[in-house]
């Protein structure tokens, strides 16, 4: 902590450490902007896991079999766990989970816009597992190499747990797709509704993503939005064929020259609307989260009071 180092030289040393792939750990010196970017990104990721429990949780009581109910319960419980790992990672940067929850409920921090879409049928549970978790895995695999240690470690743990999420969704859709005509149509309808929002999960195109350059330099982000999106499309097209389901994009075709699938234009106006709070379920998601927080307050208080009582008993004895 020598005071002779100027801010500038510390920042240079920080960048050099990053360039040589040194992981940043909680008590290391870091530029304030690195810290605040990291807090914002981890918090947003944590909020997404927590809010993401709602659309699927909506179907737990109506799962069509005990097997499916057990699977869905386990998946939603995993998402809660992911949220908690991530809040813990954010807390190593000097914020408290409480502050982050307050910011979420006040609408001052975001979560992934995908969770503002409704789950209308049982097939949506399959489409979310297959497409939404599939997209999340693509993104999270890249983040296992992010420069901030606690975030990277949380990602490793999360990725290990995610693969069953995608598989159960795929299996669910495969069953529906090969079922009755009505079941097949239900599966196709779910894919039609979730495909484009899933592509939007990777964020705006690189040309309109002003923070990408700095995040790449700091190795917070390791792969650009468009590259991740392309990875996801390339991975998903053959899976859709195996499912015998169509992806709702007439422009989707293999491009021999690029060695990738081409796909049609994304409706970024819809994305801006949903991010801006005007998606189908934005209000509902936040009000459910707020209610859970308020209705749980007495439990948190009671547990604290009980612990206080135990403490005073031990010290009296």
């Amino acid at each position: 902590m020598s005071p002779t180092y100027s801010e500038e030289s510390r920042e240079l040393a920080f960048q050099e450490a990053i360039d040589s792939d040194r992981t940043v750990e909680p008590r290391d010196w870091m530029p304030e902007r690195y810290r605040s970017t990291m807090i914002r990104q981890i918090a947003q990721h944590a909020h997404s896991e927590i809010i993401g429990m709602q659309p699927e949780g909506n179907w737990i009581t109506r799962a069509p079999s005990l097997r499916r109910k057990a699977i869905l319960l386990a998946k939603v419980q995993d998402e809660a766990g992911h949220g908690l790992y991530l809040y813990a990672a954010a807390e190593t940067l000097g914020v408290e989970r409480r502050e982050l929850t307050d910011l979420l409920i006040a609408g001052r921090q975001k979560y992934s816009s995908i969770f503002n879409y409704p789950t209308l049928t049982w097939a949506d549970v399959g489409a979310i597992g297959w497409l939404v978790d599939g997209a999340a895995i693509t993104n999270q695999l890249a983040l296992t190499k992010t420069s901030y240690g606690p975030y990277a470690r949380a990602m490793v743990r999360i990725c290990r747990e995610e693969s069953f999420h995608q598989r159960q969704g795929f299996e669910l859709l495969a069953e529906l797709s090969r079922g009755t005509k009505a079941q097949h149509e239900m599966a196709q309808d779910a894919v039609n509704r979730w495909w484009w929002p899933s592509l939007m999960m990777f964020g705006p195109p690189d040309t309109e993503s002003p923070n990408t350059a700095q995040s790449m330099a700091w190795k917070i982000k390791r792969v650009s939005n468009d590259d991740l999106r392309q990875r996801f499309v390339d991975m998903t097209v053959p899976q859709a064929q195996a499912l015998r389901l169509e992806l709702p994009d007439p422009d989707l075709r293999w491009n021999e020259a690029r060695g990738h699938f081409d796909f049609g234009p994304i409706d970024w106006e819809e994305f801006r609307q949903v991010v801006g709070g005007h998606g189908p379920c934005n209000q509902q998601r936040i009000s459910v989260r707020r209610a859970a927080d308020e209705e749980g307050a007495w439990v948190r208080e009671a547990a604290r009071a009980w612990e206080g009582r135990q403490q005073s008993r031990t010290s009296a004895a």
Binding site: Y85, T92, G94, R304
Partner: protein, 107 residues
């Protein structure tokens, strides 16, 4: 948000109305030492253990859990890394490879 960062891998140490923070250590299987896996909030040791069970061992990752209040962890300063950990660098004779022995002997 400008508070100084906490211990290595250990969450924020100041406590609001949220439950206090605990560090969680897991023994993966018998024969291994406990290893730090993360942290969580809980009002007391019993609930910290239960929460750790739910949060960190959903797939049989452990056979034993330790929880320690985060405020009880004391850590070395990362800026002291050089003075603390560099001295052994010039003590190559602490390693077996420092010594020349006949190659055909098991030594």
């Amino acid at each position: 948000m400008g508070r100084p960062p906490a211990e290595p891998d250990v969450g924020c140490l100041s406590e609001s109305d949220d439950w206090p923070l605990w560090e969680v250590f897991l023994r993966g299987r018998r024969g291994l030492a406990h290893q730090h896996v993360g942290s969580l909030h809980a009002p007391d040791p019993e609930l910290a253990l239960q929460n750790a069970r739910d949060l960190y061992t959903r797939r049989g990752e452990g056979v034993s859990i330790w929880v320690v209040r985060s405020t009880e962890v004391h850590a070395s300063d990362p800026d002291d890394q050089g003075p603390l950990f560099d001295p052994p660098a010039d003590k190559a004779y602490r390693h077996p490879t420092f010594y020349k022995v006949p190659e055909d002997l098991q030594l």
